[in-house]
Symmetry: C2
Subunit: 203 residues, 2 copies
C-alpha cells in the first residue's frame, strides 16, 4: 500500500499522527499541495474530490477520507485502540470525535479558508462573512470543552483516542486561522499541551 | 433507555431510519423543536449543544450525535451490519458516509438554514451568500455520486449501509432547501427511489 500525503494540511496530518500513535509505518508519496499537485491527474484520478490523504492498497483499491483511512488501520491493528473499546466506549469516542470535528475542526477551517488571503485560489468563492461567523462558534465550543475536560484527561474519557487527534490538529490550526485560545480555558490549554508533547504530534 | 427525538429534522430521522433497518424499538420522548423545546432545560441539561437526538441510558449516561447513537446500536445488535463488514468494508462505509455527509448532507443543510426565511431564528446570523455558495456544491457532488452509482446498487457497495441513510435524508432535505436533483442524474434518482421505497424511510 501507499499513502498519498499532503504535508502541513490538517487532514493528512490527522492520519500521520494516528499512524504514529499506532506505531505503524506506511510508504508515503509526498504530494505538493502548494503547487496544486492534488488537482493533477495523479490524485484526481484516484480521488475525484481532489483531496488528500488518499490510501491506495496493493490491489488498487482506493480509500479516502482521513477518518475512514484511520478506521481501516484500527481494524487491521486494533492495539492501541484509538476508536474506543466495547459498545459504549466506541460510541463515546464517535460522539466526541464528531462534536470536535463539527464544532471545532470545521469552523476553524471555515475561518481560515474564507478569510485568509492565501486561500483565495483554494476556496472559490471566499465568503469572508461566513469565515467571521465561525470564529465565535469556535470559542463557544472551546468553553463547553473546557468544562468537560475539568473532569477527565482526554476528550472521550480516560483513554487517548482519535477525538484527541482531531482536537490537537484543530487547535494547532487556529494559529493560521488567527483565533486565539482564551487564557481562561485552562483545561483546554492543559489538554492541548499534553497532546502536543506526545511524540506523535511531530508526525 | 430513552431516545429524545426531534421529529422531522434530518438528524433525528437518521437515527429512526437506522433503528427501523435494525428492527429495533426504543422508547421515544417527542421533543417539539418548532416550539424550541430542545433549547429548554430538559434537553439543554442533557446536551449543552442543545441538539437532537439525545439517547439516555438507564444509568443516566448521555449519548449525542446521530452517527454515534447509531454506532452504539450497531455494537449491541450487529445484524444486519449497517457500518460494513471486515476491515475494508467498514472503511468503505465510513468513507462514503463521510463523503455524503460532508459534501451533500451538510451543504444542503447550509443552503436551507442560511436562506430559508423560516430559519431566521434558528441560524443566527444567517449568511445568505454562504447558503447560495453551497447549492452548486450539492450539484457537483451529485454528479460524482451519479457516476459511482452506475456501477453498484448502494453508496458503499452491494450492501445497504448508514451511508445510504445519510444520502436518503440529505436528498429528501433538498426539497425544503429548494434544490432539485437534475433529471440527468438517473443513477442518483434510481438509488433514491429505491431507498425511499424501503419501509424504514417512513420512520
Amino acid at each position: 500500500m501507499k499513502l498519498f500525503d499532503g504535508g502541513k494540511a490538517p487532514n493528512p496530518r490527522r492520519v500521520r499522527v494516528f499512524l504514529a500513535e499506532k506505531g505503524l509505518e506506511v510508504p508515503m508519496v509526498r504530494v505538493d499541495m502548494a503547487a496544486f499537485e492534488h488537482k493533477q491527474a495523479g490524485i484526481a484520478t484516484r480521488n475525484p474530490l481532489q483531496r488528500l490523504p488518499v490510501l491506495e492498497l496493493d490491489d488498487g483499491t482506493i480509500l479516502t477520507e482521513s477518518v475512514a483511512i484511520c478506521r481501516y488501520f484500527e481494524e487491521l491493528h486494533p492495539e492501541p485502540a484509538l476508536f474506543g473499546r466495547v459498545a459504549l466506549g466506541k460510541a463515546l469516542v464517535e460522539m466526541w470525535q464528531r462534536r470536535i470535528e463539527l464544532n471545532l475542526f470545521l469552523p476553524v477551517g471555515f475561518a481560515f479558508r474564507h478569510i485568509h488571503p492565501a486561500m483565495k485560489e483554494w476556496e472559490v468563492p471566499q465568503v469572508p462573512e461566513w469565515g467571521e461567523v465561525n470564529k465565535p462558534k469556535v470559542i463557544d465550543f472551546l468553553a463547553l470543552l473546557d468544562q468537560e475536560l475539568a473532569a477527565r484527561e482526554f476528550a472521550a474519557g480516560d483513554q487517548f483516542s482519535i477525538a484527541d487527534i482531531t482536537g490537537l490538529i484543530a487547535i494547532d490550526f487556529m494559529k493560521p486561522a488567527r483565533i486565539a485560545v482564551p487564557e481562561e480555558f485552562s483545561n483546554v490549554r492543559r489538554w492541548h499541551a499534553a497532546l502536543a508533547s506526545r511524540p506523535s504530534a511531530a508526525a
